[in-house]
């Protein structure tokens, strides 16, 4: 297996991009990544996208996007694992390079979510749950995470204010990210007085509906040093695991087993422990999600996740900054793009290009991207060489 490096990154401003088509958003970011890497071609590409069918009525996406990128007839595949589709695309690109099938691979994630109305978007996202035994009864994604939040509060004494502190922290970080959809700060009082979506979660506990894409260029580590004079970032750990997609089928709804398993696999492959990680981008689709994720990744003891944002442990300047980019909460969550954008942020940080939100001296970064209520998770560990 060959070592794999990230040599190019691309991301544009996320938001409600009504005047742009899915293919335009994809091509813009892909070109940024290609130019950043300084390559003149790619050998193959993977695209993470959750449901272009339900959001824009388009399948057969990878071939269309390869064509619009001007790269046909290269092999191109779209991969899907709900909101972890982007993370899965990163893994597939890693395998493609590691196995020697391709040298230069474009990995992109894209989602165009605002072509449909709010209730249709809620429905499209709910297809990541068990449609016959959860969706049939009217459960939504905020609803599933709300049930996790209520159980976490009941079992561990996590407070409503502690949930709010996750949103406050990530918006504080996001305010430093010019590409974020919502680059502004919020207050605990603002979160607690925002509209209720699914008790106890309010609108400011939720990541938004977003149009956006992100892209990275992967190549063999040996080749990276000849292609770019920027700091080379190596993917040293890859973890991937699954869990039941129906929340009710898990023994404990506050424990993200797939994240724990994927984390263990990535730590083992990289030869790292949680305390070796300098910063992490994790899947805060809802405030409670970040709390459960940092517990599953071993950044904090099980049950204590609620204290992390409030105490500053996971803030910029803290022991383990989490979601320096603003996270899904402030940066936005175009579902299929999120896992790739997390890698973009970690590479920026490890190269020292993160400007006002730079984590000083960052050498080792981790990304965690999950699908549905935790039924799939990808964890990647990246290190600057």
């Amino acid at each position: 297996m060959r070592d794999v490096a990230v040599i190019g990154i691309g991301m544009t401003k996320w938001g409600e991009l009504w005047d742009k088509a899915l293919r335009d958003i994809f091509v813009e970011t892909a070109l940024l990544a290609i130019d950043d890497a300084g390559v003149d071609h790619i050998d193959s590409m993977y695209v993470g996208c959750m449901t272009s069918a339900l959001f824009v009525g388009q399948e057969h996406l990878a071939s269309q996007l390869a064509d619009y990128l001007g790269m046909g007839p290269i092999p191109a595949a779209r991969v899907e694992s709900a909101c972890a589709s982007g993370g899965l695309a990163v893994k597939q690109g890693f395998l493609e390079v590691a196995a020697g099938f391709s040298d230069i691979v474009l990995v992109s994630g894209v989602e165009k979510m605002t072509d449909v109305g709010g209730d249709q978007a809620t429905y499209a996202l709910s297809t990541a749950a068990d449609q016959e035994y959860e969706g049939f009864h009217g459960v939504t994604f905020p609803g599933l995470y709300a049930m996790m939040a209520r159980a976490h509060m009941h079992t561990y004494g996590t407070t409503r204010e502690q949930l709010a502190h996750v949103a406050v922290k990530n918006h504080r970080h996001g305010a430093l990210n010019p590409l974020a959809q919502y680059p502004f700060e919020v207050t605990v009082e603002g979160v607690l007085s925002s509209v209720m979506v699914a008790d106890p979660l309010r609108i400011l506990d939720c990541s938004p509906i977003t149009d956006g894409a992100a892209a990275v260029i992967l190549c063999p580590l040996d080749m990276a040093k000849t292609l770019t004079d920027k700091p080379v970032v190596k993917i040293t750990g890859v973890g991937h695991a699954t869990d039941t997609i129906a929340l009710h089928s898990r023994d404990d709804v506050t424990t993200l087993n797939a994240t724990a398993k994927a984390g263990e696999a990535a730590y083992q492959m990289a030869g790292k422990k949680p305390e070796d990680i300098d910063l992490a981008e994790v899947h805060d689709c809802f405030t409670i999600a970040e709390i459960c994720v940092i517990e599953a990744l071993g950044f904090i003891e099980k049950g204590k996740g609620g204290t992390a944002a409030e105490s500053g442990l996971t803030a910029l300047g803290g022991k383990i900054p989490v979601n320096a980019s603003g996270g899904l909460k402030a940066k936005g969550h175009p579902v299929g793009a999120t896992g790739v954008a997390q890698v973009v942020e970690i590479v920026k940080q490890l190269r020292g290009e993160a400007d006002k939100r730079q984590v000083e001296g960052a050498r080792v970064g981790l990304t965690q991207n999950m699908g549905g209520s935790g039924g799939s998770t990808l964890v990647h560990i990246l290190e600057v060489q």
Binding site: E132, Y133, G135, F136, G138, T140, R150, V197, A198, V253
Partner: protein, 129 residues
């Protein structure tokens, strides 16, 4: 999306709470499966208990398309007295005063209406006892 073929197929679960019990290890699956986590492939069909306890819940205020007219409604994870857990709406109650640990019974109710013909889909909901 519920279609007539899918709805017909799921009638044993929706109308009668039929589950599959592994004849080797005794684990019960709802809905029934073809293979157990223990590796066995033989199951007997059992009917689930229709009483249980609310494990966690929420009140949906922003609903998916087909439930928009019903919001706000409570939905929760219920552990039935035989240990099987399922997701169901909790109805005939004040949704603002539900609590974890609430005892409930499972009742046969209308769940949703689908398609231009307005096909009625029935199934289970929970009611506090």
């Amino acid at each position: 999306m519920v279609t007539p073929a899918r709805y017909w197929r799921e009638i044993p679960q929706r109308y009668r709470l039929e589950a599959g019990k592994c004849t080797r290890c005794g684990k019960t699956y709802f809905p029934p499966r073809l293979v157990c986590a223990c590796g066995a492939r033989e199951f007997e069909i059992v009917r689930l208990k229709d009483e249980g306890t609310l494990q966690t819940f929420t009140v949906i205020r922003v609903a998916p398309s087909q439930f928009v007219d019903e919001a706000p409604y409570a939905i929760g994870i219920v552990e039935l007295n035989d240990g099987v857990r399922l997701t169901a709406q909790v109805v005939d109650c004040d949704v603002e005063h539900l609590e974890i640990g609430q005892k409930v019974k499972v009742e046969f109710r209308r769940i949703q209406t689908v398609g231009e013909a307005g096909i009625l889909c029935y199934g289970y909901k929970c009611v506090p006892v």
